[in-house]
């Protein structure tokens, strides 16, 4: 796949995510203009990107979607549940189209086409003519619509000439126009009294007034007309819908008593027409009537009038400004984010690690030579390097909010399927953690959320009967705690049914029927493979796979999961994960003045090694015999064994063993640096880390060490003469 397409895939994926979350937001707040605009922009970007890589299927479909969104944005159609659902379906379909464009489709071409056709048919219902519209705006061939700079304000044009007698009948034009303000927003009004005769003939009790009005309104033509209902017979009223053809305006001008040129000028000032359109329209009209020379005469003055008066069309300016902000916003957004391939970041972090080592070596040299100035400058260097290390580790972290937000859709769809009403609350979305963890946590989280929706939260009727709010709550929360990130999935549903779980577990032979288990032990049974308490298997969950997978995934991330539950109150699942896979809590031990790190979660306890057991490969821990590994022996370290040695008891995969070391040096946070390729076959060493002192410490691979010790023991048993040698 070429690079352009790669970018397209990535970008359209992001835009589709944005589109989806905005659509969900729109469902909650149908009147939010910002959301609407965001939705439109996302669809538009997808279309544009598709056009760039010539993904015709995506482009044409996105185009139709965009059209409907445009109508939404212009308030020509209203946001309804149906429309939102349709738009979500379209988003899904766009995803399929994009995937198929990338050759990663799992759907057959025929299915895609059928889906496209069915969605297009549904979209058509929101297209022109389908929805109630004030004035039908059917496309006519060869008609040039006034382009959007003016139409962006969606203004009706109203031309009204009040009859002479309205004032005498006690009807003041002012009242009607003030009333018009309740229907919409009068953006511009021009008052004309051109019909007023010379002073002598002018009767002050007659009305000579006329108005040209640009009205911004979502009302239909009938509503606007009704404003003038009382004087309808007395006045000359023309109402042009927004986006009318130039010709319609020209016809209006011709039908009015005032001078064509003056009216044209007013229309331009109101912003209904641009000067070019007007002169073009007038000329075309005149051509049709066969009076080209007359129109030509009119043609020029309009331009001159405009220049002379320096008429600036506010609508045009507003549109230009809006366009400009949009462009600069996009630029700012682009500038905020840089795409970097993950392996480049890893390389950077590795280099930083090297830097730390090199810096430490320098500072060691400086100390050795007792060069005060060098020590000072190298300590400054060390501090800076540490900051760089922290900053580069931070580069890999992302906020968890994005992962959380994906569940809005899941909750919404699941609620529809299950007939439940659940509100998803998210907090702590700004909590940061390593990107590789975020990617791996998505699936387990989805299982948990589905479980809560399916089994946890009851149906509205059941909830109401139990005296609870029929609307259930699902809380996703994240926070940092002692170098870990904690993610909570909590619901206010029925809670876990202890007896049912226990009964199932006994039935499956997971526990003895007469076993006495604490609540916590019982709840932990839900993570056992093949155990489901659901009476019914739904398409969401209940098949009994899931929770065990969740736990396994978490363990792979060095994380843990805990359940707490209150019958009738709800269930809370607490996930605890390391902030990054690149940092572990370690236990530092020293043998022959060399430092080694044992992963802290493998450490069970530390004891002093009894003198009597110095020569054995096992030791006695309170009556239990454990195999032991002496680091000195295993790694062939030089020097004499000290008088006092310590044993670190470690546990791995249910097996325990002792590691004999010279000295214990306490806990530390170790940044794991992988070993180079040539050390790949080295057994017993999992990686390396750099200590605060700049010294390199090897991280022990506990599982391999336990295996080695077992093998060594077996070899010794096979050839016992070696022991005495």
């Amino acid at each position: 796949m070429d690079e352009l397409k790669q970018v397209f895939l990535q970008e359209s994926g992001e835009q589709l995510d944005a589109l989806e979350s905005l659509l969900l937001e729109l469902e909650a707040h149908p009147d939010d203009e910002i959301t609407l605009n965001g939705i439109f922009r996302a669809a538009h970007t997808i279309k544009g990107a598709a056009g760039m890589v010539e993904a015709a299927a995506v482009e044409s479909f996105a185009h139709v979607v965009e059209n409907v969104l445009d109508r939404l944005r212009n308030h020509e159609i209203a946001v309804t549940t149906d429309l939102a659902a349709l738009m979500l379906a379209c988003t899904d379909h766009l995803r399929v189209l994009v995937a198929s464009e990338a050759g990663m489709d799992q759907v057959s071409a025929a299915d895609i086409e059928a889906q496209t056709a069915s969605l297009l048919a549904r979209l058509r219902a929101f297209g022109p003519g389908g929805e109630v519209q004030a004035t039908p705006k059917a496309e006519e061939p060869g008609v040039q619509r006034i382009p959007s700079p003016q139409t962006s304000h969606n203004c009706w044009h109203i031309s009204v000439r009040f009859g002479s007698d309205v004032l005498r009948q006690g009807m003041d034009p002012e009242n009607f126009l003030r009333f018009l303000e309740t229907v919409g927003n009068i953006r511009h009004m021009e008052t004309l009294a051109d019909r007023m005769p010379a002073a002598a003939e002018m009767d002050p009790e007659l009305c000579y007034l006329g108005f040209e009005i640009a009205l911004e309104s979502a009302a239909d033509k009938q509503t606007i007309e009704d404003v003038f209902a009382f004087v309808r017979d007395e006045c000359q009223l023309s109402i042009l819908p927004p986006n009318s053809k130039v010709n319609d305006y020209v016809e209006l001008i011709e039908s009015l008593p005032e001078d064509t040129l003056r009216l044209g000028e007013i229309l331009v000032r109101i912003g209904a027409l641009t000067a070019d359109e007007l002169s073009e329209g007038l000329r075309a009209q005149a051509m049709d009537d066969g009076e080209a020379p007359a129109a030509e005469r009119h043609d020029k003055p309009i331009g001159e009038i405009l220049v002379a008066q320096q008429v600036v069309q506010p609508e045009v300016v507003a549109a230009a400004v809006a366009k400009q902000t949009q462009v600069s916003e996009k630029k700012a957004q682009d500038a905020k984010l840089i795409r970097v391939p993950a392996d480049k970041l890893d390389h950077l972090i590795n280099l930083v690690g090297e830097l730390v080592i090199a810096g430490a070596a320098t500072s060691l040299l400086a100390h050795k030579r007792s060069d005060g100035e060098l020590i000072e400058s190298s300590s400054l260097l060390t501090r800076l390097v540490e900051e760089i290390r922290d900053a580069s580790l931070q580069l890999r972290t992302v906020q968890i909010g994005e992962t959380f937000n994906r569940f809005h859709r899941l909750v919404r769809d699941a609620c529809k399927d299950l007939g439940k009403d659940v509100e998803l609350l998210i907090s702590g979305g700004e909590t940061e953690l390593d990107k590789s963890i975020v990617e791996k946590i998505g699936d387990p989280l989805m299982h948990l959320v589905r479980n809560s929706l399916d089994h946890g939260i009851e149906a509205p009727a059941v909830r109401e009967a139990a005296g609870k709010n029929p609307r259930g709550t699902l809380l996703l929360n994240a926070y940092h705690d002692a170098g870990n990130i904690v993610i909570e999935v909590a619901d206010d549903g029925a809670g876990l049914n202890r007896d049912k779980i226990l009964a199932k577990a006994v039935e499956r032979g997971l526990v003895e029927p007469d076993a006495h288990l604490s609540d916590r032990e019982v709840y932990d049974l839900i993570f056992a493979p093949g155990l489901s308490t659901a009476d019914q298997v739904t398409n969401l969950s209940g098949r009994g796979v899931g929770m065990d997978v969740v736990r396994r995934n978490l363990l792979a991330l060095r994380g843990t999961i805990n359940v707490s539950s209150q019958p009738g109150q709800g269930t809370r699942l607490t996930l605890r994960l390391p902030l990054t896979l690149a940092i572990i809590d370690g236990f530092l031990v020293v043998s022959a003045n060399r430092s080694y790190v044992i992963p802290l979660d493998a450490v069970v306890e530390c004891v002093e090694r009894p003198e009597a057991e110095h020569e054995r490969n096992y030791f006695n821990l309170r009556g239990q015999v454990l195999p032991s590994v002496c680091l000195r022996e295993s790694f062939g370290l030089p020097g004499e064994r000290p008088a006092r040695e310590s044993v670190v008891v470690v546990q791995y995969a249910g097996q325990r063993a002792g590691i004999v070391v010279d000295r214990l040096a306490g806990e530390l946070q170790a940044v794991i640096k992988p070993l180079g390729a040539i050390f790949r076959h080295l057994q017993g060493i999992g990686g390396s880390t750099i200590l605060g002192s700049g010294e390199v410490a090897l991280i022990l691979d506990i599982s391999a060490l336990i295996k080695i010790s077992g093998q060594a023991e077996q070899r010794l048993l096979a050839r016992p003469e070696q022991r005495s040698a």
């Binding site: 004032l167 005498r168 511009h188 008052t191 009294a193 007023m196 002073a199 002050p204 009790e205």
Partner: protein
């Protein structure tokens, strides 16, 4: 340049415009610049506004200047609503009292 300043206290409404018209037009003959003080006008309707437009138009046609030097809130409101402020070309000044 001769200046006439005339203050009006009566309503500029359909009920009074017939009486007002001759008086207003009469002012045009008196000086080059006619200043109308409308700060005492409590009510004005479209008929009154239309009459002012006539006087303004006639004054301009005769090469004279008609200026409204003081507006009551009622006058100002209607002139603004009809978007005629620029056409009259007067600074809209409402006296403090």
């Amino acid at each position: 340049m001769s200046v006439i300043r005339q203050a009006f206290a009566e309503d500029f409404t359909i009920y009074r415009v017939a009486e007002l018209k001759p008086g207003l037009l009469g002012l045009l003959g008196g000086a080059e610049r006619i200043e109308l003080d409308l700060s005492g006008v409590e009510r004005m309707d479209s008929a009154g506004c239309q009459l002012l437009m006539l006087v303004k138009r006639e004054a301009s046609a005769a090469g004279k200047t008609l200026a409204i030097v003081a507006h009551s809130p009622a006058v100002q409101s209607l002139i603004e609503f009809y978007n005629l402020a620029a056409w009259f070309g007067d600074p809209l000044v409402v006296p403090a009292e």
